[in-house]
C-alpha cells in the first residue's frame, strides 16, 4: 500500500496549454465571414444613414487619415510601451510570487484568497486610486496593465509548481539535489506548460488592461484617443479606433500564439 495524497481540485483560474491553436488567419472560411460582415456593415451604413453607424469605407478612410496626419502613431507608441513594461513586471513578479506560493503552503494560504479575488475583480475599479497616487504619469496606466495580467500568471505558476510529480523529486533527492537544484531542474520544468499557458492568458488580459486604463485617463494611448473621440461624438473616428485596436489585439494574440507554440514544441 502506498500513501496517496488527497487530490486537489483545480483552482478556477487555471487553464491548460492550448493544444494546436488554430490561428485566426489559417482558415479561409473566417476570411469569408469577415468579408460578409464588412459588406453588411457597408450596406447598413449607407442605407440607414445613422450618425453612430458610418459605412465601413468611411471608417477605413478615417483610419487611414489618422495615420497620414500622424495622429495615431504617438498614441500607439505610448500604448505598446505601457503594455511592454506592464507585462514585463507582471511576468517577473508573477513567476516569483507564483513559484513561492507553489512551494510554500504558508505563503500560499496567506496570499491565495487575495490573488483569486484579484483575478475576478475588474482591476479598473482601482484606477481612481492609482490616478490619485500616480497622477497622469505612465505609472498609472502601467499599474492597470499589471493588475489585469499578473494574477493569472501567479495562479498558473503556483498550480504548475504544486503539481510536480513527487517521484521525480524523490529521484532528484536520491542523486543529492539541493532544494534549489530541485526547483530549477525538476519543479520549474514540470510546471512549464502551465506557466506558458498563464503567460498567454496574461498577455491577453494585459491588452485589455492597457486599453481600459487609457480610456479611464482618456488622454494618452489608443484607448485615450478613442475615449476623447467618444466624448466629442466623432463616430467615424470612434469606429476607426475600435477597428484599429481590434487589429492590434489580433496581431498581439497571433504573436503570442506563435511564441507559445515555439516554446512548447519540445514539450509533450
Amino acid at each position: 500500500m502506498t500513501a496517496v495524497a488527497p487530490t486537489r481540485p483545480k483552482p478556477v483560474g487555471v487553464i491548460g496549454p492550448s493544444k494546436g491553436v488554430s490561428t485566426f488567419f489559417e482558415t479561409t472560411s473566417s476570411w469569408w465571414g469577415i468579408l460578409a460582415l464588412l459588406l453588411i456593415w457597408e450596406i447598413a451604413g449607407q442605407v440607414a444613414d445613422l450618425v453612430w453607424l458610418p459605412p465601413v469605407t468611411e471608417v477605413i478612410a478615417t483610419l487611414w487619415q489618422l495615420f497620414v496626419d500622424g495622429v495615431i502613431q504617438p498614441h500607439l507608441g505610448a500604448s505598446l510601451w505601457s503594455l511592454f513594461v506592464g507585462f514585463s513586471v507582471s511576468l517577473v513578479v508573477g513567476l516569483i510570487v507564483g513559484t513561492l506560493m507553489g512551494l510554500s503552503t504558508t505563503i500560499n494560504s496567506a496570499l491565495d484568497i487575495f490573488v483569486n479575488a484579484m483575478l475576478f475583480t475588474p482591476a479598473l475599479i482601482f484606477a481612481p486610486i492609482l490616478f490619485a497616487v500616480f497622477g497622469l504619469s505612465d505609472v498609472t496606466r502601467i499599474s492597470v496593465v499589471v493588475l489585469y495580467a499578473m494574477f493569472i500568471i501567479i495562479i498558473n505558476t503556483a498550480e504548475g509548481v504544486r503539481n510536480v510529480d513527487d517521484p521525480l523529486l524523490d529521484m532528484a533527492a536520491s542523486f543529492g539535489a539541493s532544494r534549489w537544484t530541485a526547483v530549477r531542474r525538476i519543479i520549474l520544468p514540470s510546471a512549464y506548460p502551465l506557466i506558458i499557458a498563464g503567460l498567454r492568458l496574461g498577455a491577453g488580459r494585459a491588452v485589455k488592461g492597457m486599453i481600459n486604463g487609457e480610456m479611464f485617463i482618456a488622454l494618452i494611448g489608443l484607448g485615450g484617443l478613442s475615449a476623447s473621440y467618444g466624448k466629442s461624438l466623432q463616430f467615424p473616428e470612434v469606429w476607426a479606433m475600435a477597428l484599429f485596436i481590434m487589429i492590434v489585439a489580433i496581431i498581439i494574440n497571433q504573436g503570442v500564439s506563435i511564441i507559445e507554440r515555439k516554446l512548447t514544441a519540445w514539450y509533450d
Partner: protein, 256 residues
C-alpha cells in the same frame, strides 16, 4: 559493507495513526552481494531500502556503510525506481546524465559516460529519443543506466520490474544478471516475485508485516555466472521457491 543495526521506523503523519514500518531490523550486506528483499506489501521493504539510501531517517537504530553512519542522501548509493522516474522533457542521453550532472561533472565527461552506460543497457541509438517514445522495459533500462552511470558501489532497486509485463520482466532479469555479473556492485533489490528473488539474489531477505520484521535470510547457493534457464531447471531453484512460497503463505494466514 552495509550494516543495519536495530533499525525501527515509525511514520507519523498529521491526523493519522502512526504506522510502524520497521521494527528492530538487523542485517549485514557484504560488498558486491546481490540481496533481494521479499515480503507482503506494506511490510516495510521500500522503507528499509530508502533508509539505506538516506532518503528516510529511521526513528531508531543506525545504518552504516563501511563504518560511516547514514544521515541523509549520499554518494554511496544510486536508486532505480519502480515508476522509472524519468524526466519527460529530457532526452534519454540527458536523463542518463542527470545524476552525473547533479554531481557536478562537466558536460563532455558526463555525455561520454552516459553514452557508455546507454550502450551497456542496450539502448545505443536511442540517445536523442524522449522517454515517452520508449516502451516500459526500455524506460527502465534508462533508469538503470542512470543509476549505474554515477558508479556508486551500491544500487538500490525498488521493484524495478514491477510495472513491466511478464515477458519484458523476464527479459530484463536476464539482462540485469548479465550486466551485474560484468560490473558487480552491492545490490539491494526489492521484489514481490518469488522467482525473481531466487533467480537474482545471493541472499533472499524475507520480511513480514507484523510489523516490519525480518523473518529469515535465505542463502541462495547457486553458482555465478548464472544461466537463467539452467537455474530455473535446477533443483535448488525449485526448492528455494517452494520454501519461500510456504513461508509467505504462512504469513498470509497469520494476517488474513
Amino acid at each position: 559493507m552495509i550494516s543495519i543495526k536495530d533499525v525501527s521506523h515509525r511514520y507519523t503523519a498529521k491526523g493519522r495513526e502512526e504506522t510502524v514500518a520497521l521494527s528492530n531490523v538487523n542485517l549485514e550486506i557484504e560488498d558486491n552481494e546481490f540481496v533481494t528483499i521479499i515480503g507482503p506489501s506494506g511490510c516495510g521493504k521500500t522503507t528499509l531500502m530508502r533508509a539505506v539510501g538516506g532518503l528516510v531517517q529511521p526513528t531508531e537504530g543506525e545504518i552504516t556503510i563501511d563504518g560511516q553512519r547514514v544521515t541523509g542522501p549520499h554518494q554511496q548509493a544510486a536508486v532505480v525506481f519502480q515508476n522509472f522516474a524519468l524526466l519527460p522533457w529530457a532526452s534519454i542521453l540527458d536523463n542518463v546524465a542527470f545524476g552525473l550532472e547533479l554531481q557536478g561533472m562537466g558536460k563532455a565527461d558526463r555525455i561520454a559516460k552516459a553514452e557508455q552506460y546507454i550502450k551497456r543497457v542496450g539502448l545505443s541509438g536511442f540517445e536523442r529519443k524522449y522517454p515517452r517514445e520508449l516502451s516500459g522495459g526500455m524506460q527502465q533500462r534508462v533508469g538503470l543506466a542512470r543509476a549505474l552511470a554515477v558508479e556508486t558501489p551500491i544500487l538500490l532497486m525498488d521493484e524495478p520490474f514491477g510495472a513491466l509485463d511478464q515477458q519484458t520482466r523476464r527479459y530484463m532479469q536476464e539482462e540485469l544478471i548479465q550486466i551485474w555479473e560484468g560490473d558487480r556492485r552491492t545490490v539491494i533489490f526489492v521484489t514481490h516475485d518469488m522467482e525473481e528473488a531466487v533467480l537474482l539474489g545471493d541472499k533472499v531477505v524475507l520480511m513480514s508485516a507484523r510489523p516490519g520484521k525480518i523473518e529469515e535470510v535465505i542463502d541462495v547457493d547457486i553458482a555465478r555466472p548464472r544461466d537463467p534457464e539452467a537455474v530455473e531447471r535446477s533443483e535448488v531453484f525449485a526448492e528455494k521457491k517452494e520454501y519461500l512460497w510456504r513461508r509467505l503463505r504462512e504469513m498470509y494466514q497469520v494476517t488474513a
